[in-house]
């Protein structure tokens, strides 16, 4: 059975594409057959983060409009041969996606034996975001520990509960996961940033993972290698844990505590 997972957030720039790339890569590393689709038509990004931008010939919109077959448009990952990328179109606008077309592509991926399809949602709550979530079986809600991001995410939770196929079928609430990114334990401890617990309590959905703020994320996007490949980075390790949890394992959260400081530093600050 194919599981469709949407990576969504409402607010822009919180780490959806970074997360989609690493979740897809991580699931493929665990042996699953995975496709990751960029729904951000007009502003494609996923191909860069996945490092396959020069191999994009046909894209998602071409497939939807029958200008190319799905086989032609799927780009096989350089490192993992059970991982495929479907790029967004750079030139078309959001109306180029249709619900019928998206449904057809997802059905074809299911028929091809894909275990997971990861849908990288654009920001906002407009058509692209709506279509990215519409067919999903599960949702990963990417949140930064910051007021506007949390509020937007709650808005998205409302849409997941009403504007999806899952909801329309009356299948009960969709499985939703909270992924907190750009987390800085030092600032949390100093009372400058909301904690995992704070955000979890406000949104009321279980935590899939906490990804620390890390310089390695930029390094990874610079080189077009999803950060989960970088086993030396804490962000990569945290994504690895999140993938294992997504795959059903129970693992404790890591990297959520500030490194212990000495007595003087604790007394006199910074």
């Amino acid at each position: 059975m194919t599981e469709i997972i949407v990576v969504t957030s409402g607010k822009g720039g919180v780490g959806k594409t970074t997360t989609s790339a690493s979740l897809a890569t991580g699931l493929a590393k665990r042996g699953h057959k995975v496709a990751v689709i960029d729904f951000d038509v007009g502003l494609r990004n996923l191909d860069l983060i996945m490092g396959c931008e020069r191999r994009v010939v046909y894209d998602f919109v071409n497939v939807i409009h029958n200008e190319a077959t799905l086989k032609q448009a799927l780009i096989r990952d350089k490192r993992l041969d059970n991982l495929y990328v479907l790029a967004a179109s750079q030139t078309r606008d959001k109306d180029a996606l249709t619900q019928e077309g998206v449904g057809r592509v997802l059905d074809e991926l299911a028929a091809d034996g894909f275990d997971f399809v990861i849908c990288d949602s654009p920001a906002g709550i407009e058509k692209g975001a709506h279509l990215a979530m519409y067919f999903a079986d599960r949702a990963v809600v990417v949140v930064n520990p910051e007021v506007s991001s949390v509020r937007d995410s709650d808005r998205i939770l409302g849409l997941l509960a009403s504007k999806t196929r899952h909801a329309e079928r009356g299948d009960g609430p969709m499985k939703q996961h909270l992924l907190l990114t750009r987390y800085n334990p030092v600032r949390v401890e100093a009372g400058e940033m909301m904690s995992v617990k704070d955000v979890e309590e406000i949104l009321g959905i279980p935590v899939l993972g906490v990804i620390p703020e890390s310089e390695q994320v930029l390094a990874a996007s610079n080189s077009g290698v999803p950060v989960i490949h970088d086993a030396s980075s804490i962000a990569g390790q945290a994504y690895g844990d999140a993938v294992a949890r997504l795959d059903g394992e129970e693992i404790e959260l890591r990297f959520i505590d500030a490194p212990r400081k000495g007595f003087f530093k604790r007394m006199f600050g910074t």
Binding site: E146, V147, V150, R151, D154, R155, G158, S162, V188, A190, G191, E192, M193, M194, S195, D198, I202, L203, M267
Partner: protein, 91 residues
């Protein structure tokens, strides 16, 4: 005692402020979600009217649409300030 307090003095805990603000706004938005579009506006106007007479908190007015079988019930609740605050007028 004073010295200790001074040493312990920390910048305001803004994370707590963020959490409290979110708790309130998220609860409000959830209550009006899926309901008619005029609910947030209705809430705002009710609040303005009540505040002419009682100095309630901005989040003291909650409106909620409950579905009860065939009927929809508009629920209003107004939390009045604590007695002594209201009388003394001091903060």
């Amino acid at each position: 005692m004073k010295l200790l307090d001074f040493l312990r003095a920390r910048p305001k805990n803004t994370a707590d402020i963020a959490r409290e603000r979110l708790r309130i706004i998220v609860a409000q938005e959830r209550a009006t979600r899926g309901g008619p579009d005029y609910l947030p506006l209705l809430r705002g106007e009710l609040l303005a009217v009540i505040r002419k007479y009682v100095n309630v908190d901005p989040d003291a007015v909650q409106v909620n649409v409950e579905r009860d079988g065939q009927h929809e019930v508009l629920e209003l609740s107004v939390a009045l300030p604590e007695q002594k605050l209201a009388v003394s007028g001091e903060r």
